[in-house]
């Protein structure tokens, strides 16, 4: 099921950071700005890893200061990056990623005065955008990675319909929410599902997420993709996540020069 509206990604939106990016989820959901500093001196001697890079992720929510939920999301983003970042290339250094949520689709249907994003709300919706923003930031900062990762949020409605990138109101009505992250060589690096679902629901959600991130399944056998933006084979006219990342890269490298 093709993605209705592709997410937007812009590289190098901050000047001072080594690398930066802004990621906007589809249906103007979360907008996350990532600032990446790499390679940097490790502040505390105890955090230093002798043979590898120490990855530190700071997530700032749109309202207030990071609570337990944000700490858990930072942990998930860090562990996912550890699988794709080649840490041994720059031992005893630090990759510092700061993610700031700048825009949230406000949920008017909440009872009056109760702000969204409270402690009791799910964290899966922000997790997908945060991960994508972090990967984009690393790409812009030239972090040495063995593959690019992308994440997609899928909601299953009570009637079984799959919604990729559900909006706030749709999310409230979903029976279960799923986040899947895939590397460009189509391995799954992150699975986070919550709600009530059976095994085949889950498999369907995984397929939907895979096509949202990697485009349609029949990629050219040698794995590379034609760079002309219109990927006929995928038939999804370039609105899968990897294509969006590729277009952002083109914008940054070819047209933008070193802005």
């Amino acid at each position: 099921m093709a993605l209705t509206e592709p997410p937007k990604a812009i590289l190098h939106t901050l000047l001072k950071a080594d690398g930066s990016a802004t990621y906007t989820a589809p249906k103007n959901g979360y907008q996350v700005v990532a600032g990446v500093n790499y390679p940097v001196e490790v502040p505390y001697r105890s955090d230093e890893i002798p043979e590898s890079t120490f990855i530190e992720v700071n997530l700032r929510p749109h309202n207030g200061v990071g609570m337990v939920k944000e700490r858990h999301m930072e942990e998930l983003v860090t562990r996912t990056l550890q699988t794709i970042v080649l840490g041994d290339e720059t031992p005893r250094t630090m990759l510092q990623i700061t993610l700031q949520v700048v825009n949230v689709e406000s949920d008017e249907s909440l009872p009056g005065g109760v702000k969204g994003g409270g402690q009791g709300e799910t964290y899966l919706d922000l997790l997908a955008s945060a991960l994508n923003a972090a990967v984009l930031g690393c790409v812009d900062a030239g972090v040495q990675m063995k593959a690019i990762a992308g994440a997609a949020l899928v909601g299953i409605c009570p009637d079984g319909r799959m919604v990729v990138g559900p909006s706030v109101v749709q999310r409230k009505k979903c029976a279960s929410l799923h986040v899947f992250a895939f590397t460009s060589d189509s391995q799954t690096v992150l699975m986070e599902s919550e709600g009530k679902f059976t095994m085949d629901d889950w498999k369907q959600a995984e397929r939907a997420a895979r096509s949202a991130v990697l485009g349609s399944v029949n990629k050219q056998d040698n794995g590379d993709v034609t760079m002309n933006g219109t990927n006929i084979t995928s038939g999804s006219s370039g609105n899968c996540l990897l294509d969006v990342i590729r277009q952002a890269l083109e914008a940054r490298v070819i047209k933008g020069g070193n802005r």
Partner: protein
Amino acid sequence: MPSIISPLSPDPSVPASAMPLISPNALLYAHLKQSPPRRPSSRTPSEPRPIQLNVGSLAHCNGSSLVKIGATTIVCGVRAEILPVTEIPSFRITKAGASYTPTAPVVRDTRYQGDTEKDNKEEDEGEYSPISLYNLVVPNIELATGCSPRHPANAAPSTEAQSISQRLLSLLHTSQLVRSSDLEIIYTPPAQAEDLELGIDTDPQLKAYWTLYVDMMCISHGGSVFDAAWLALYAALKDTIIPKSWWDADLEQVLCSAEVADARKLSLRGIPVPSSFGVFVPEKRVLGQDGHQDPYWVLMDTDGFEEEACAETGCITVDAGGGKGSSLILRIEKNGGSNVGVEEMVNMVTLAERRWQQWKTVLDAALSNS
């Protein structure tokens, strides 16, 4: 521990006993390489540890439990406190018969037809369950009790403690374990005649909520702490008694009766049971000598040592009690590696269901004799 000649250095002056310190990865690989694969703790990769459960052993709690899974010991206590509705900022009680309806348009399911029918009907919490909106159930795990060398006593909560607390909270909300109807304190004003003319309504009003503080102290950290914490939380909530309470109009205060006979238990929805797993990938330097092709093993219910050696970890929470044939899955988490895909997940769900049966027997035994 079977004495093995370390594959690394034939130098006898490096005794095999030093192997676990020099390279835990190599030791685990040396054990798993044997056929049939065994772990240093002499379990098969898919064999979970036995669970021990004591219920109701703490005096100052509404409900308590002690869970021991292998080397992991967790004591959980549930305290019920009263949250008057006036304390909730921006809370508006509507007149409707439903126990509460914040102004949200969502109408909760009809509540007060006969009670019997309610018990088995799996009624839903609706989008705005007050439990998640007003944080009425507060799980917290404390790891800074000197439970392992890596968690010094009296330190601020570590990232692991916060992650486990957040995962417990998410599972609590998505499984809708606690019914919000159990936590409401309703006041029905006596329907004397003069009230009707003065227009004082005699519909039931919600005056206060019960708030459940679920505190878990990790006495010993032996791996798969999330599983033990959730099972302790579940057993403690199962053991919790809520005293009979009513709104005293002239005192403007909720009063409770101290009689255990009047008190009531919580009716929990379903029995979610998590089972964690780790994916062990031997380091390249260890593999180099054997050229072994199958690079990874999935280890169920990892203990402290294995959890340290597995970068990729995950957890599946199932509830096989639904009786609707294939069991219901409540939560799947996997991060830190790219070895486990959809196919492995399928047989892991069957292992999770076996763990569910194991927990069911332990729970019934503990509840029956407590």
